[in-house]
């Protein structure tokens, strides 16, 4: 069999995995052919990393079969997967930077004689190995003296040399510059020519179109689709990545009110931070929802963190109720009546050890100051109210919040901010990683809050969702606000067009 005949190398069928009630992978199928570079795409939480971990035995899958060259395998650890011929190179190079390149290449399998490492032999072999990748460097020098790209190639060389039949590259290009990416691509093409199958995880669409043969997209733990690169134009790819089918009831959009009717709550002009997000103008009005759309890393989260004072802006101005304000910290933002539910629920949102009640009262208590504790009776009433209102399950106010499902943690986080009666509520991916039922409830809640006159700023990867509640959508690309859609302009095709537009080509939507 010719190494590059395109026959199937790896076949996954029905891969499923749940964590504590949350479905991370739902019956995903995936095939990798010999000599193929296969892009694995999806937003945060789509299930890419879970799929890779399940494939390499780092986490145990709940269901599914795995065949490598027709033989069924079930690796139970990364080491076992490597022995079977599945090599993985992660974004953070997993080598010892202070050891020499040669030692890194042969760590754990050094050539020895009488128990002593044969340094000379090891260096010769290292030189030969790297030469195959067109790399001629001093292998005796510590790895850390070389650029990240070379470190990646060393990691790949090490992985491939261990008789790899397939290679998984998990976001290898995130920290590389254009030239370095090209060097890496050359190596990938060589491996492809040798018949090695490569799974390439990235969130740079340009790179996908530059090097990949096929694309598989995951969304919310499910397979959104697999297609050869030629059959999937960029706009269809973005559509495949963003959005999900909404129930008919949720998809029904109430009529938008005219923007000018509502009083502005907060106005940002030329607001930005160097190297973080480019200066932008943003007006948030009572009873209106502004949605932020864009791909991962486009500057959505960065924008809301600036607005909430979690990062300090270094240019522009902010006005609240017509008064100029300095938003220097979350505390300051909170005093101005802002609330913020971050995307990273576990690390920035809930305090897992504390109970549902304690998590809910936290922000209100911080607002009152430590010396004015909320009476326990008020805490209990408030908690009971939000458990009822948001249908938090189980309805046990004294349960540590870490034991709740993702959707219920999200509701607790919402309750925390609703308890402070904010005028502006910032939600970063409020529906990520939560089940379908909770999803509809949260969208309903966003609409209700809006109807009550709250101003909302919502980040979401779910375009179908965002168009159902947003009165205005700001599209971001490369850490800049590139388009603003208002009123009837807000629809999925328009947003997709703005996201997928090449920086060089004129944006499909109205430029800002």
């Amino acid at each position: 069999m010719h190494p590059t005949d395109g026959s199937t190398l790896l076949e996954l069928t029905g891969f499923s995995k749940s964590f504590a009630g949350f479905v991370a992978l739902d019956k995903v199928d995936f095939t990798l052919r010999r000599g193929e570079i296969h892009a694995l795409l999806g937003e945060n939480g789509a299930g890419k990393s879970t799929l890779i971990k399940a494939m390499t035995g780092v986490v145990a899958r709940d269901a599914g079969t795995m065949r490598l060259e027709g033989a069924e395998i079930a690796p139970r650890s990364a080491g076992e997967a490597t022995r079977l011929g599945i090599a993985t190179v992660y974004q953070e190079v997993n080598l010892a930077p202070n050891l020499s390149v040669a030692k890194n290449l042969f760590l754990g399998r050094q050539p020895t004689r009488f128990g002593f490492v044969r340094e000379g032999e090891m260096r010769r072999r290292a030189d030969a190995l790297l030469a195959e990748f067109g790399l001629s460097i001093d292998v005796a020098a510590p790895l850390e003296t070389y650029s990240v790209a070379i470190q990646h190639i060393v990691a790949i060389a090490r992985a491939v040399d261990q008789s790899a039949r397939m290679l998984i590259l998990d976001e290898p290009t995130a920290s590389l510059d254009a030239h370095e990416v090209e060097v890496l691509f050359t190596v990938m093409r060589q491996l492809k020519a040798r018949g090695i199958g490569i799974v390439f995880v990235t969130h740079f669409l340009d790179q996908v179109y530059a090097i990949c043969d096929r694309i598989t997209v995951l969304r919310n733990g499910r397979l959104a689709g697999t297609a050869p690169i030629a059959e999937l134009p960029r706009i269809d790819l973005v559509r495949m990545m963003l959005g999900r089918e909404l129930s008919a009831a949720t998809a029904q959009r109430p009529p938008r009110t005219a923007l000018a009717e509502a009083a502005p709550v907060a106005v940002f002009e030329d607001f930005g931070k160097t190297g973080y997000v480019a200066p932008f103008d943003l007006t948030l009005r009572a009873g209106h929802v502004v949605g932020l759309a864009g791909l991962l890393g486009s500057g959505r989260t960065e924008t809301v963190r600036l607005v909430f004072g979690a990062e300090r802006a270094d240019c522009g101005s902010a006005e609240v109720d017509g008064r100029r304000v300095a938003i220097s910290s979350p505390r300051e933002a909170m005093r101005l009546g802002f609330g913020y539910c971050p995307e990273e629920r576990k690390t920035e949102g809930v305090v897992a050890d504390l109970t549902v009640r304690e998590n809910i009262v936290l922000a209100l208590q911080a607002k009152r100051g430590p010396m004015k504790p909320l009476p326990r009776r008020e805490q209990d009433e408030m908690t009971a109210k939000f458990i009822r209102l948001l249908d938090i399950r189980p309805p046990d106010p004294e349960r540590p919040v870490g034991l709740l499902s993702g959707g219920n943690q999200q509701k607790v986080l919402l309750a925390r901010w609703l308890a402070t009666a904010p005028r502006l509520l910032i939600l970063d991916e409020p529906t990520r990683g939560i089940d379908v039922g909770a999803h509809a409830e949260i969208i309903g809640l966003i609409r209700d809050l809006c109807a009550e006159g709250m101003a909302l700023l919502v980040v979401s990867s779910e375009l179908e969702e965002i168009v159902t509640y947003a009165d205005e959508v700001v599209v971001l690309r490369d850490r800049a606000h590139v388009a603003r859609l208002t009123g009837d302009e807000v629809d999925v095709p328009a947003i997709l067009a703005a996201i997928a537009a090449d920086a060089s080509a004129p944006a499909a939507a109205a430029p800002m």
Binding site: R331, P342, D353, K367, P373
Partner: protein, 332 residues
């Protein structure tokens, strides 16, 4: 992060009772009490009295540890504050002496707190500075000798004074415990400490002034250490800068851990930290009463501490529960 339902401290209280019973076995007069000059005497009182310094330290330490910090300097702060108190005792009135010593403790805590909260130095490193330098400062104050005093006012705060029949250090410790409980549980500070220790980033985003609370907590630890230093100096009618509080920071940390507060911060219990301190002291007193050769002291201590910590470990508890099920099954 280990998740657990709210603690009730059964294992700690059980451990304390077990250690006390063991003491009773090696020393039958352990639970004897008698009253002389209006003061209660007995080995149990000794446990409370001798445990007072570590109990005081653990009251401050538990808050620091709940914030994901650690305060290695408390032993040295004890030495500094004891030295100040002893040096001033015979020339100044008690309020002045106390104000100076407690003020020095607060100042030491402020220093630690600023290093940790403002300069962002890791707590173990930040407090190590004062742990090393503090003892030197204390030695400078005492000029390397034991500074003795004869002021009965200050001596009253040591083991020889008594309030309502109990040695003053015991009363001071319970007073400090009550005051601390009032502050952390009577206000929302306790919640904020637990939130910050459990998830500092989330707490800052929820609008909690984490830096201010960090500084305050280290200052409270300094204050507790100062009180412990005063008690220790008052007890021996002198300040021994070389030995006062030596290694007691480790006992205080151990007391906090025995009390079930995780070194990774979050949930804490001040009362159980004090129970932890009493377990340690009950063990010390038991060893002294037992007549074992002193070479065995540390081994006995290590075994008991290990047993207490194992009893708390959820994994071990699970095994025991499993064993119980097996036993029940075999019985039926």
């Amino acid at each position: 992060m280990a998740l657990r339902l709210p603690r009730i401290g059964t294992s700690q209280v059980a451990a304390l009772i077990l250690v006390l019973l063991a003491n009773w076995m090696v020393s039958p007069q352990f639970f004897d009490f008698h009253i002389r000059d209006g003061r209660v005497f007995g080995s149990v009182i000794d446990v409370l009295n001798r445990g007072a310094p570590v109990a005081l330290l653990s009251i401050g330490m538990v808050l620091v540890i709940a914030m994901r910090g650690i305060d290695l300097s408390v032993g040295a702060v004890m030495a500094i504050c004891g030295a100040i108190a002893a040096s001033l005792a015979d020339s100044h009135t008690l309020p002045v002496v106390l104000a100076a010593a407690l003020g020095a403790g607060l100042l030491c805590g402020l220093w630690n707190g600023l290093l940790v909260a403002v300069l962002g130095i890791q707590p173990i490193v930040a407090t190590l500075i004062l742990m090393v330098a503090g003892r030197g400062i204390a030695q400078l104050i005492t000029e390397g000798r034991i500074v003795t005093f004869s002021s009965p006012d200050l001596a009253f705060l040591g083991g020889s004074g008594s309030v309502l029949g109990l040695p003053t250090p015991v009363v001071l410790t319970f007073g400090m415990l009550a005051l601390t409980l009032l502050i952390v549980r009577g206000t929302a500070l306790g919640l904020m400490i637990e939130a910050t220790g459990g998830n500092p980033r989330a707490s800052a985003l929820a609008g909690i002034g984490t830096k201010l609370i960090t500084v305050a907590v280290y200052m409270w630890s300094g204050l507790c250490a100062a009180l412990a230093g005063i008690v220790a100096a008052a007890d021996i009618l002198g300040a021994d800068a070389n030995n006062a509080g030596l290694w007691l920071e480790l006992d205080a940390i151990l007391a906090v851990v025995i009390g079930g507060t995780s070194l990774f911060g979050g949930r804490f219990s001040v009362v159980l930290a004090v129970v932890g301190a009493l377990i340690i002291q009950a063990m010390n007193t038991g060893i002294l009463l037992s007549g074992f050769p002193p070479e065995t002291n540390l081994v006995v201590k290590a075994v008991v501490v290990l047993a207490v910590l194992l009893a708390q470990s959820p994994r071990v508890a699970g095994h025991f529960a499993g064993l119980g099920v097996l036993l029940n099954r075999s019985r039926s």
